[in-house]
């Protein structure tokens, strides 16, 4: 790089390429799914919903047969790794198998801004796109 400073003196600097960190959202989502499945045997399926999410936001719907509460499902969000290249938000929407069926049929709404379009089931070791 060459440019002149305020005194007109030509300065030269070697161009350096700063490493650009890339947040690997799909890979990190798969890692969460693996960990959650290992931690909680009551999980039937984990669906990853990237469509429409901000780049550093991971949206998971976890279908869990051990939920006994009568409350409607509510998402819960966690900030993770603040200040690092991997900084992201994890949002988990826990539902019963019956609630998941209602979500699929459109009878139970997802959190605002979420969509099943382009969602993938990632609880079986590999991603399976929703038809």
């Amino acid at each position: 790089l060459r440019w002149a400073n305020t005194n007109g003196i030509i300065l030269e600097m070697e161009e350096t390429l700063m490493p650009t960190a890339t947040f690997k959202r799909d890979a990190i989502a798969a890692r969460y799914a693996k960990r959650h499945k290992e931690t909680d045997p009551a999980i039937r399926a984990i669906h990853y919903l990237p469509t429409g999410a901000p780049p550093n936001e991971i949206r998971l719907v976890e279908v869990n047969e051990a939920i006994t509460s009568t409350a409607g499902p509510e998402p819960i969000d966690f900030g993770v790794d603040s200040g690092s290249p991997n900084e992201h938000k994890l949002i988990v929407f826990d539902v019963t198998p019956e609630q998941w069926e209602n979500v699929r049929e459109g009878a139970l709404p997802l959190p605002e801004g979420w969509t099943l379009e382009g969602s993938r089931e990632i609880s079986r070791g590999h991603a399976r796109s929703r038809k």
Binding site: D40, S69, A71, E74, G79
Partner: protein
């Protein structure tokens, strides 16, 4: 709700609001756990002050709070009402959940330096005499269980409800 309960409830609400900010901000785990533990302790004390006298120290904490909510001394009707406030159809369903979540609640309750047996806690380096670890650099298994399991997330949500709906069961 008596005056002492109101004061403990106000402090619980404030601690919990900070916890939510920290949880969303993704700060070090120790800080999130510290505020969650404090909010849990204070809403527990708010409830246990319902007799109008300071509860015995041995009967204060998240576990005694959960047990008190399900106490048979309350009567079936009241226990059913309380279960409903926490979105359970029957007291038995809430009791089953409390049993399931007890290890997490116990670990959260014991996260203070004086109850941590000179081990991991959310505030001070440990061991006390020859510190080798500090909370800010420690990865807490408890936090992973709260974030990465449904029972853990439900405990976090339960504490939110316990604080937001306190007037209904105080």
């Amino acid at each position: 709700m008596n005056d002492a309960q109101k004061l403990w409830w106000e402090q619980a609400k404030s601690d919990h609001a900070v916890f939510v900010l920290l949880r969303r901000g993704g700060v070090r785990e120790c800080h999130m756990l510290h505020y969650l533990q404090m909010a849990a302790e204070k809403i527990s004390k708010a409830y246990l002050w319902r007799s109008g006298a300071a509860p015995p120290r041995s009967l204060v904490g998240l576990m005694p709070f959960l047990q008190a909510l399900l106490s048979r001394g309350l009567g079936r009707k009241e226990r059913r009402r309380i279960a409903g406030i926490f979105d359970y159809a029957r007291p038995e369903d809430m009791a089953a959940w409390v049993k399931q979540v007890s290890p997490l609640a116990h670990d959260l309750q014991n996260l203070t330096p004086d109850l941590s047996n000179d081990g991991p806690n959310a505030e001070y380096p440990w061991p006390h005499d020859e510190p080798t670890h500090c909370p800010a650099l420690h990865s807490f298994a408890l936090w992973n269980r709260l974030r990465d399991s449904e029972p853990g997330r439900r405990l976090v949500k339960f504490l939110d409800k316990a604080i937001q709906r306190f007037e209904q069961y105080a």
